[in-house]
């Protein structure tokens, strides 16, 4: 990886979490502040090993709260900076994320999701969709949320995340899950950028050197009118993001009547199920949102124009993104949901069974492995605790 131009072409086998770290450094990130948590551990470990060797700073903070506020400080000082965590830790970062949004400080936050609520579990999950797209912290704001589904996308999307963060002066999130984070796949790494060649940030608080008026990074506005103006200006930026940054993958959607909507790890399972459905003659397609905020509503419009009659949102939670699907569909088609939660992954057969049910006009099964109506589900795996097993 020393020769960057070559590395851009060569494919290497890497773990998703490590790719996030490597691609972040290639995007010009030299500052990482984090706190240990499963299942994002490899990311921080990789940063700890590599960053000091390339003139960067890896700092294990005393808490997630401190880590995100260090990100706020480093971002305010003009650097490309990131933190990473997993669900419970991301809750702690919500304070700092809100301040970053309120003060227009760029930075990248990685959430390698695990099951919740509370301490939850450490298996893959998508249970933080709401938190990421709606409310990572208090106040009136959004932030771009990118959802990789392959190790390659871990590289591509974190690279993009730094650009979006700087361009729109906003915190930006990578919403991955334990499955993509832990899996190894071949990946082409993006070219390395020298942080010195990145665009300068005239607003940064790096010392005025007597050359300009003092810069202030701040989210406090005691005048309601000023606060309203500031929020309006920020939402104008959000509109630009909505207009230009929606990203998705459409598979077999040109003539699809049943469109499965899934992101991240769930989309990998859904992809197989859609292919299997096609093999059975069902006109199914896959719409995979890559940006969860802004939500790819234009793509939903498109597949409806193409003739989609039924949508099935497949998620690793109890039904969160399905609300965005319903909002985007706006009554023009039916919207159903199928999900597994707690770290349980659905099988492609399970998802296929739901597609078949929709094709035959039957209801989909209740979520999370409950008794199926008219579909064949594998028996729930015995997940008794050691206490329940009497061990």
């Amino acid at each position: 990886m020393a020769d960057n131009t070559k590395a851009a072409e060569e494919r290497v086998l890497m773990k998703g979490n490590e790719v996030l770290a490597e691609a972040a450094m290639r995007a010009g990130c030299r500052f990482f502040f984090g706190y240990p948590i499963t299942p994002q551990t490899e990311l921080a470990a990789y940063m700890a090993k590599r960053l000091p060797k390339i003139g960067g700073t890896f700092l294990q903070a005393e808490s997630e709260v401190a880590a995100i506020n260090m990100v706020y400080g480093a971002g305010a000082a003009g650097a490309r900076v990131m933190t990473s965590s997993s669900s419970p830790g991301v809750s702690l970062k919500s304070e700092g994320a809100s301040y970053m949004a309120g003060a227009d400080v760029p930075g990248v936050i990685v959430n390698v999701m695990r099951g919740g609520p509370g301490l939850g579990g450490i298996q893959p999950s998508q249970s933080d969709y709401f938190q990421a797209t709606r409310a990572l912290g208090h106040g009136d704001y959004f932030m771009p949320v990118l959802a990789p589904s392959t190790v390659q996308e871990m590289a591509d999307l974190i690279y993009l995340a730094f650009d979006l963060a700087d361009e729109y002066r906003t915190p930006t999130m990578i919403l991955a899950d334990g499955m993509i984070g832990q899996m190894m796949e071949p990946v082409s790494l993006p070219p390395a950028r020298d942080p010195k060649t990145l665009p300068t940030k005239p607003w940064a608080t790096a010392g005025h050197k007597g050359e300009r008026a003092h810069n202030v990074i701040n989210s406090l506005y005691l005048s309601p009118e000023k606060l309203e103006d500031t929020n309006r200006e920020r939402f104008e930026r959000y509109e630009k993001i909505r207009a230009t940054q929606q990203r998705q993958e459409l598979m077999m959607c040109d003539d699809a009547e049943i469109v499965v909507v899934a992101f991240g790890a769930a989309s990998r399972i859904a992809r197989t199920a859609v292919r299997d459905a096609r093999a059975k003659g069902i006109k199914a397609g896959l719409l995979r949102p890559i940006t969860l905020w802004p939500y790819p509503t234009d793509a939903i419009d498109k597949v409806i124009d193409n003739g989609a009659k039924r949508f099935l949102s497949v998620e690793l939670n109890m039904g969160q993104m399905v609300e965005d699907v319903r909002l985007a569909v706006a009554g023009r088609a039916s919207v159903d949901f199928y999900g597994r939660t707690g770290g349980v992954l659905p099988t492609p057969e399970e998802v296929l069974a739901q597609i078949e049910a929709l094709a035959e006009g039957r209801p989909v099964a209740p979520s999370a492995g409950g008794s199926a109506t008219g579909s064949v589900l594998p028996a729930p795996i015995d997940r008794k605790s050691s206490y329940e097993r009497g061990e």
């Binding site: 903070a61 005393e62 506020n69 010392g207 202030v216």
Partner: protein, 296 residues
């Protein structure tokens, strides 16, 4: 007070004040240039303003306004970002040391200071405070300890004295229930990353002069890269103590200073070390792993 020579008015006062100065008169003392013309949002007689001025004078005298980044807290000094002419960042409640860490790590050549009150530093931000100190973060923290939450209207602070009556300790701070005040200077002096900690006050011209000397030394400690530096200023809150500013000074002398004795709590240079790191190495001289030279 040692002033930059000759003392000049900041630009915004040239018309307003300068016009009243005769051609044969010279300025002895004036607003420091690192202070803006913004009117402090502090109550009349609040000692925050004195300490704000001392910080600005130190910035002027060290000639560091252009390389200084200040971090404002949440509390009465929340709007400090408006008061100083250096670059400023407003932090979340208690997080100023973490924000300062982020800035300092990106720009080690900058001078970074956090200005915090007792609720901010010693309650909600204790973790950030202790860990920035123990990391030996090369930042300077100015800590205003006036034993009360001022901005929210006079609640019990982590540094409120035993039996002190506040809005949330209406019968006096009951140590059996609310515990004891946190003595931050003493606490931080035990940490290896700390180069310099001094507790000062601002109830008299002599004490204010001493406070300025300490603040300047704390900045110099950072500039010299010796380690973490903090100055605790025992201060008043006339409004929420329910006293005149003059009576508040007397209450400070009678009650605060016996509980929070003034003095230098750590000064690695005075102790004969080059910096905090060298002092830390000596303290752990019997620990083999701590003695390993990383460069080897």
């Amino acid at each position: 007070m040692a002033k930059t020579n000759p003392v000049t008015l900041p630009d915004y006062q040239v018309e307003r004040i300068g016009a009243q100065i005769g051609a044969d008169e010279t300025i002895v003392s004036a607003r420091p240039h690192a202070l803006s013309d913004a009117i402090f949002n502090y109550c009349p007689g609040c000692t925050h303003g004195i300490v704000n001025r001392l910080v600005a004078e130190c910035i002027d005298e060290l000639g560091i306004e252009g390389t200084t980044v200040g971090i404002a807290p949440v509390g009465c000094s929340v709007m400090a970002y408006d008061f100083f002419n250096c670059d400023m960042i407003e932090a979340a409640h208690g997080r100023a040391p973490a924000v300062a860490t982020g800035v300092k790590r990106v720009h080690p050549e900058n001078v970074v200071f956090a200005y915090q009150g007792d609720g901010d530093l010693a309650s909600i931000g204790t973790a950030e405070t202790v860990h920035a100190a123990t990391r030996g973060e090369k930042i300077t923290v100015i800590f205003i300890n006036n034993a009360i939450y001022g901005m929210t209207g006079g609640q019990m602070a982590p540094t409120s004295l035993p039996n002190q009556v506040t809005q949330t300790s209406p019968y006096g701070r009951d140590v059996n229930s609310a515990g004891y005040p946190v003595r931050i200077s003493e606490l931080l002096s035990t940490l290896d990353g700390v180069a310099y900690v001094e507790r000062v006050t601002c109830d008299s011209t002599a004490h204010i002069r001493a406070a300025k000397k300490a603040i300047k030394k704390a900045f110099q400690t950072q500039i010299d890269g010796l380690g973490y530096s903090m100055v605790e200023v025992v201060a008043t809150c006339p409004t929420n103590w329910g006293m005149t500013p003059q009576a508040a000074f007397q209450w400070l002398r009678d009650n605060m200073l016996p509980y929070y004795p003034l003095g230098v709590y750590k000064d690695v240079v005075a102790d004969g070390y080059a910096n905090a790191a060298e002092a830390a190495l000596e303290r752990a001289k019997d620990c083999p792993i701590a003695q390993q030279n990383k460069e080897d």
